[in-house]
Amino acid sequence: MEDVIKNDKGQIMLLTVFLIIIEVVSFTAILNNMILTANIPITGLDDSKHQMREFRLMTESEMQKAAYYATTYVEDPENVTQVQNYFTNYVNSYNNSVMKLYAARGASVEIIFNNISFNKTTTNLTVNMYHVEWKNHTFNINSLIIPMDENQTQIMKVFGLVYKIVDDNGTSGLNSTRIPVWNILQNPVNSTVPDFYSTIYTDDNASSTATGAVMNRSYSGGPFLIDIDDIDETKRQMILAEAANKSIIIHKLASPFYYEKAVQMVVPPKVAVYPDPPPSEMSGYYKDSEVPYTALDDTDIENGALKLTPFDILTIPHEDMDHAPKEVITSIVSWVADGGVLHAQCAGTDTMDDAVEKWAGSAEPWYGFIGINRSENHTGKIQLRTMTYIKLVDKNTPFNSTLTYNMSPPASLAGIADPGAAYSPLAQSYNISGILGNHSAQSTTPAFSLRSNGSQVNPRANILGYAAYVDGTPVYLDADIHSDHRSDLQLMYIEAQYENGLVTYLAGHNQSGRIGGERLIFETFFAASMRLSPVTVVAAKNINITIKYNDGKVRYEDTFLINT
């Protein structure tokens, strides 16, 4: 021990070894750190990649938007110059803005147009893009609102006005210029489901130069709106003058209004009525509304009038279709399959199903268009005065959530009354109970029920309204013309998609005798837009652009074609 302590050389050597170890450890740590750092992604480059990607995606999206807006919002979408100017202005604004914004980040961007063409094209305005798909929309202050409830005194005439506003087939005046009309869809039953009312701050004087009573008003029944951005003062005056002629009340928005479930009509439906001449009730509906229609007879339909014109809506009141020729039925089936909207009432409902099954039954596995049975009134089973109120269905309707339909096997009503009438363009109403009045006229088909064999019912059927007593209690009854000793829920109003088209059946005879029921005939207007309506417009096509991005770290350039 004494030797070791005294052996200073040994200690120095030990210390030297210790220092070498420290150096090795330090060197290893530094080397490790260098390797780690070299393997961490460089944040700056990663950021550049995000910026480039964003620039490209945003530019692509904005070119598509510019093309869409240019076609949709110009005064005359068939005018090449107007569409081209709009597109160019939009793109220039985008280009200038994006250049400034990226310059502030230290990057330069550039958009170069290599090719673009503006050609007249026939576009199919599809349901998903333009029509019955709910859209959220903000209506600016001074937009026009046409009430469809107690605030309105001429509910039926409103449909004629709306038709005229959207129509552009005239040579002068209101129906020579196409103005989109919006319908805000509400829940037509005042249950706990919201949106029966929309509280909107409005002015009851729609003139642009005067002010009336400005206040919050509750609107129900699916009011129509015309966005102020879609009209100038001249068009506004034309609308107000036409409304004044028809004694229609129009308000204007006193503050902007935003709504999430709105649909837009940009093309007026062409309406056909069968047969020719139509029954007096049908003439009455149209006389009340002043909506133009064309009556078709067997020969017209057999000669293909439905598709050749083409018509968007075919209305068949209480006509027994069992007697219609085979060619008439097959023409109707083919037209509906292509996107037509069929609205049948009274005897036109179940006899249509029978005729379709008879002449075109192999087209679909279910019975007819929807699969219904007529309920009898002749034996006194359906008491018109007490049992034929229409109760519109919403998700809080008790039977909808708890009961099953008496089919084989039993079907959940929640499955065949979903979504029911809530927010449907086919069933807007302002009756707080959701009950539309009965009527006393004798009806061939006062109600109907679904066929008891579930496989015979169109799986896309949606019950909009059922037969109810005055208090809304559902009518359950074995009332089939072919009594099957089953007690079924009696139905009044039902819809079902049939291939690309839509079929609606409404029980009862003369709807004008039913409070709130007459307007249902025209509520197919917006649904008719489900038809793929060909519209000729000028559209920006073949947009070929080069984009350049340079932020000092990364230089990027790409040329690509944008689909519109």
């Binding site: 210390l15 990663d46 950021d47 709009y86 914004l101 959220n136 903000t138 209004f257 935003y258």
Partner: protein
């Protein structure tokens, strides 16, 4: 002197100790931040993580299903914002709307994970680029990272929001193009 090996030994020992101490101090300083706002080598990884988190969050909030006409949550938050800076996490008017919902999402995704963030909105004006803080939690640290997302606003997006219209101008009155805003998210760890 030469024979005094003890002195040499003590000197080398002192140098070794000093070296050891200095290395330890340097290592600690480089490895961990001394104050919340100072930088350190450990931030390199954190910066990458934060950048990635920031972009992910903005991408998720700006997602819209293909074919949908709905606004993204982020766009709704901007379109519904009244232009006022959030005071801490307090809600802004209109209460309960998309702006507050999105602010809460930022809090849950970042704040609750110990990440501090500022959200600012940059936009074009006739005088150049202007900005306005939306969510503000203080001055960022030296190692803060910035991620951003550009959002194009159209007329219909802005029609309802008169408050914001007075702040973010419509730079094209003739078309539906309104403006582009850059949502800039600054992130750092405390």
């Amino acid at each position: 002197m030469i024979r005094n090996e003890k002195a040499q030994l003590y000197t080398i020992e002192a140098i070794a100790c000093a070296l050891l101490l200095v290395l330890v101090v340097i290592f600690v300083i480089k490895a961990a931040p001394m104050t919340p706002n100072s930088s350190s080598s450990s931030h390199q990884q954190i910066e990458v993580q934060l950048t990635s988190q920031g972009y992910d969050l903005l991408t998720v909030l700006d997602y819209v299903p293909e074919g949908s006409t709905d606004l993204s949550q982020l766009k709704q938050a901007i379109a519904s914002w009244n232009g006022m800076e959030f005071s801490g996490q307090a809600a802004v008017s209109p209460y309960g709307g998309p702006t507050n919902v999105t602010a809460n999402d930022f809090k849950e995704a970042l704040g609750d994970a110990g990440i501090v963030y500022n959200l600012e909105v940059f936009f074009n004006t006739s005088a150049g680029i202007s900005s306005r803080p939306m969510l503000w939690n203080g001055k960022p640290s030296d190692n803060a990272v910035i991620v951003s997302k550009s959002i194009v606003l159209n007329d219909e997006d802005m029609a309802i929001n008169t408050d914001l219209k007075s702040i973010i101008p419509d730079i094209d009155l003739g078309t539906k193009f309104y403006n582009i805003v850059e949502v800039k998210l600054t992130l750092w760890r405390m």
